[in-house]
Symmetry: C2
Subunit: 273 residues, 2 copies
Amino acid sequence: MTETDAPPHPFDAAIALTPVADDRMRGRTRPEYANMVGPFGGITAAAFVHAVQQRPDRLGDPVALTVNYAAPIADGDFDITVRAARTNRTTQHWTLELTQNGNVTTTATAVFGTRRDTWSDTEPAMPSAPPPDAVPVGGFPDFIAWARNYEMRFVDGAVPEQEGAEHPDSTTTLWVRDTPARPLDFPALTALADVFYPRVFLRRGRFMAAGTISLTVYFHADAEEIAAQGDEHILATARAHRFSRGYFDQTAHLWGRDGTLLASTHQLVYFKD
Amino acid sequence: MTETDAPPHPFDAAIALTPVADDRMRGRTRPEYANMVGPFGGITAAAFVHAVQQRPDRLGDPVALTVNYAAPIADGDFDITVRAARTNRTTQHWTLELTQNGNVTTTATAVFGTRRDTWSDTEPAMPSAPPPDAVPVGGFPDFIAWARNYEMRFVDGAVPEQEGAEHPDSTTTLWVRDTPARPLDFPALTALADVFYPRVFLRRGRFMAAGTISLTVYFHADAEEIAAQGDEHILATARAHRFSRGYFDQTAHLWGRDGTLLASTHQLVYFKD
């Protein structure tokens, strides 16, 4: 058996898409990336990025992505429609939709673009953290299937274990990478943007109904910086700003071990306490 | 002349839309809200919110909005198409497009929803600032037409005046409100999300080509909290995280004078140095 006969990484199997029409690709949910209801939001976001990447007329790499989780995706096949709303000299705007039996479950917009050398700077400092090997492996409760595909080492704000132990702030910081190991690329980075459990669980010290409504990712890193991460851990840190009347927001940053700010990502989440 | 004969506020004139088909409304750019090329991005974002608000089948109030600025909008008429991609019990997902002569210039997605009482908390502290009256009125250079519709009092990070004076960080904080005064509502709050000049101007101490590619707004406040602001100043604060290879991001918060975090908002901006 040659190397190319090896089964694909579960992540690649989960974002695999087959063209079925000019503007449509078909994928299939995978039990490995199941969440409580429907698939992990990060894998759906990654599939959208992957859909645009497969288009022959695609310009450059991901710059910005917004995914709106309108309804649960049922286990089984799904279609992603991909339309270039506008192509400029250096940026391209995509409109996407995920449907099952003609019903929209998820909408998205993506901006792809080319990058060129300019003045550059990163303002915030990377959070200080012990090296990954010095932080014990933690994770989510075992019934969250998708989380078993990530090695998580919580530096701060681990999943609450003691029922009702409230936490004064919503910050979680963890070292995280795919398991089995897989070199980082744009789809994998996209999925990592949604790797955090809902901030309200941490504040309230308990699980409750909660789900991402809208996720935005800004890709700071270019393809070379992403490839340079290899399969090293990413330092992922998230916090909320306001919880109010059934919704809260989350802002997160994904840092390479080498100190590169790879992505900033934001989401709006509903919760029911 | 009765009160109802008074001319509308320039803001309301700029977001006025007339139905032309079931899923389409027509608006017109207004010179009062012109930017360097095309209209102020905030007024376009506000028009999208206003378009959904006018739909008879609209559910609740704005929760999340993403606007992608794909191409400049020319002076004159434009059409906004509005489609409810999915209606749930408490949330509704909208897909929107702004076109001129059939060409897409702007795409957007909006989530509207109902709110209900839950546990609530705001994590970050409102930035400390002297009261608005104690801060001198500043603003943008006079050739930026749209900025003349805002009373801006810069607490920190005013528009650079001295060519080439670099600034160590990208934070701008200002008191801002519509002028002439106008009670705050969802469209006005939406426009304020884009009231900041490009962060790269502050860091580099000079103007250069720059423009928002994608803007996201998370509406924390409900209609009552927004109405309670009246025409008081809003404390608006913004900063960037990373500038790299022609793009940078911005995260901002809009605070009511009463300490209410009204909205968190994020954008991805291109620049050419």
